[in-house]
Symmetry: C2
Amino acid sequence: MGANRCRLTFDVTARDALRYTPAGLAVSEGEGWHRSMQCEVGRTREVDFRFHWVAMGEVATVMDALPMGAEVTGEGFFAARRKGGRQLQLHLTAVQWHQDEERKAQ
Amino acid sequence: MGANRCRLTFDVTARDALRYTPAGLAVSEGEGWHRSMQCEVGRTREVDFRFHWVAMGEVATVMDALPMGAEVTGEGFFAARRKGGRQLQLHLTAVQWHQDEERKAQ
């Protein structure tokens, strides 16, 4: 199976209301904002982009319960947002909320 | 630093001529095609998308030397292809060509 794994830290900047598939599976989707410094051939570069994310099942209920603006690190895979389209969306299969780290920093 | 790590298997479907920055750094960029089956809430789903990749330095010379259509697994980070844009591109910081596996399979 071809590799397709991503780990991305982002702020939750938009989120649709939690919905359910006909089979009763929770679905949460929305937008995220990633900012970081990344290293490329020994130089650091600023990376800053907004993207679309989607989560299903337990991960969807976790995403739905987060306060807007929460910083999380998600893991998952990328897929086309629309069939044949070039815009990618991150399918979250695990997520960690950085709540504790933020509290320690305050 | 925010996490932004991706590991993606893809076929090299297009590639520009190798170019150099004013500082003499090699740059290779082109397009890739990813296809795989991914697992989401216990179900497998087919993932199929085309995307833009860019590589610098030694990774650029590796990408430039590959035959067109080569299957590789790349590691790197995503960034916006254009400032403020929603189309992402994969910045390859390491790449592995699946040449040996293909030869064994033949």
